[in-house]
């Protein structure tokens, strides 16, 4: 058994051009990602950077040009690898003609769950995603947030060990977003591995243990979130209710210490976005 929940090694994916003589487009260029069981991994990158392609290769929806993808040690191209995976695609619609409960039953039966076990599971999941009141409403009448939540529920129906989420909070209102993020944290606490990709950097920062930044098909930065967003030669001291005199004394002390300088005094700010911009545009503070 592999020690990794997700093991992507030197993944390359080329898409041939429809025009003769034009070189193939390389969507993913040597990407490697390893996620240990129980971790929450966030893959971030601009549009067209290769995030979705990487996820699809992991799910066997497309074949790598080179490299390999494995889920808990099983080759992604084999159906067996999907026993332990739940997937929520970006902007899913599902079958509009089914109700919430019917949708979960459908996916549950596909995973060979039946009878009382299935019914219990369906009720539990609907409670978990707070859709018990809408269980008998057709998905055609669901809001965006509700669709995301039912999507999450179907991804969880067979109690997978790995959850793959593509833009789980895209287009969802702040309240819905919060609910989804809380759910992800709850799942992490249960020991489920989560691999998500998102544009919404604040939200990634809140839930992920590990982050990978992908740009133009290449992984440009990867590691523990805490370490990534820490600036090496800088320390941060956050004070509460500090008086101007105290701040002045600190400034004075720093000024008298050789090799040390005061970088910034002011209100605390997020740093992930800055790091992201620095890596993708070569600038930024």
């Amino acid at each position: 058994m592999s020690e990794f929940a997700v093991d992507i090694r030197d993944l390359v994916k080329d898409f041939p051009s429809p025009l003769r003589g034009v070189k193939a487009f390389r969507a993913v260029d040597g990407v490697s990602i390893r996620i240990r069981p129980g971790e929450v991994y966030g893959l971030i990158g601009p549009n067209g950077s290769g995030k979705s392609t990487t996820m699809k290769a992991l799910l066997g929806l497309l074949a790598p040009t080179a490299g390999s993808c494995a889920i808990f040690g099983k080759d992604s191209m084999k159906v067996d690898s999907r026993n332990d995976v739940g997937f929520l695609p970006e902007n899913p619609y599902f079958y509009k003609h089914l109700t919430g409960a019917e949708t979960l039953r459908f996916y549950g039966r596909l995973c060979n769950i039946r009878g009382k076990v299935l019914e219990t599971r369906v009720s539990e999941l609907l409670d978990l995603v707070d859709l018990a009141n809408a269980r008998d409403r057709r998905l055609g009448g669901y809001s965006k947030g509700m669709l995301q939540r039912i999507g999450l529920a179907q991804a969880l129906v067979q109690e997978p060990r790995l959850l793959i989420l593509d833009e789980p909070t895209a287009g969802v209102d702040p309240l819905g977003s919060r609910q989804i993020r809380d759910l992800i944290l709850k799942l992490r606490d249960r020991g489920i591995t989560v691999f998500l990709c998102s544009h919404l950097l604040e939200q990634v920062q809140e839930v992920c243990d590990h982050v990978g930044i992908i740009f133009q098909g290449r992984m440009v930065k990867e590691g523990r979130l805490d370490e990534l967003i820490a600036v090496e030669d800088q320390q941060e001291i956050v004070l509460k209710n500090a008086s101007p005199e105290l701040i002045a004394r600190i400034q004075h002390m720093v000024g008298r210490t050789p090799g040390t300088s005061l970088v910034r005094i002011g209100p605390s700010r997020t740093t992930l976005e800055r790091l992201f911009l620095q890596e993708t545009q070569g600038g930024g503070e």
Partner: protein
């Protein structure tokens, strides 16, 4: 932890789940309701008399043939149109809505997915045909009794012998509800199964419902006259057509199914007996085509990228 899924291909339960989901999807589509209403109206129109030129003594088996011909024609039209359009829209719709991703992200072999989709369409066609067959049988039974009563009354009034009356009863009965007619309805279903499978194959190549529908319909037309084409080829090789034309015609008859074989329905309408062997042969041929097209669909679909 959920029970470990068996990932063997063509697991019956899994295929059944996909088939029933497809069945439900199609039933709940508004277009299906319109089609059924159309079929019902078309069939029920037979409650109204066709133009009658002569008096009651002329009410005869011709009327029964017209009724059967019309009803079976409606059933055929419905089943072919539905087999093509329903199958053509399934895959593109699943891709567009990304429901395909969620299904294939589960441990579902791609062949199970294809077979399940096709099975769902065919199940719906079968149920619809049974429903329409029920209406037709009811109409036919009512009309046959009417024709029988009218004709027998006329014959008795003319002093026909018992033997002649029996002969008349047999003739009218042969034009009424018979097992051969049901065999004809089965032939309609078998044909729609082949058409649906060919549409499935095309939809694995194409992402456009419209393209798949149009080409499937063209294949159906070509398949319907390919026997004539083959005959033309045989006749013209004697007359000396170009080798290219002969080769083209020969290829046509090899690649396209011969849908004319399913026209045994026509003679069933005339009241002629269609034996078990004929229906059995058609069932065997249909199975061959359905399996062939499904396998080819899987070959294309198995490593299709999304």
């Amino acid at each position: 932890m959920a029970e470990r899924t068996s990932n063997r291909w063509l697991q019956p339960r899994r295929v059944a789940v996909l088939a029933m989901n497809t069945f439900t999807q199609l039933v709940r589509m508004k277009v299906f309701y319109f089609l059924m209403v159309f079929a019902f109206i078309a069939l029920a129109s037979q409650f109204f008399d066709l133009p009658q030129y002569n008096g009651p003594e002329a009410v005869g088996t011709g009327e029964l043939q017209l009724l059967k011909g019309w009803c079976i024609g409606v059933m055929k039209l419905y089943s072919i149109v539905f087999a093509i359009t329903a199958t053509a829209l399934l895959l593109p719709k699943d891709v567009e809505d990304r429901t395909l991703y969620t299904i294939l992200a589960k441990p579902v072999p791609r062949i199970d997915y294809l077979v399940g989709k096709l099975a769902g369409v065919l199940l719906l066609i079968l149920v619809s045909l049974l429903f329409m067959d029920g209406i037709m049988s009811l109409l036919l039974e009512v009309r046959t009794r009417h024709v029988m009563a009218t004709q027998m009354e006329f014959a008795v009034s003319r002093g026909w012998s018992q033997e002649a009356l029996e002969s008349l009863r047999r003739d009218i009965g042969a034009q009424g509800l018979t097992w051969s007619l049901q065999g004809g309805v089965l032939a309609v279903f078998l044909q729609s199964a082949v058409v649906g499978a060919s549409s499935l194959l095309l939809s694995t190549f194409s992402t456009s419902t419209l393209f798949t529908s149009v080409v499937s319909f063209l294949i159906y037309l070509v398949g319907s006259f390919q026997a004539d084409a083959a005959e033309f080829y045989r006749a013209t090789t004697e007359a000396g057509t170009t080798s290219f034309a002969s080769l083209a015609l020969k290829l046509l008859s090899l690649v396209f199914p011969n849908y004319q074989l399913f026209n045994v329905t026509d003679v069933a309408i005339q009241g002629q007996a269609v034996g078990f062997h004929a229906i059995g042969s058609l069932a065997g041929l249909s199975l061959f085509y359905v399996v062939l097209y499904t396998l080819l669909s899987w070959i294309v679909f198995s490593d299709k990228e999304f």
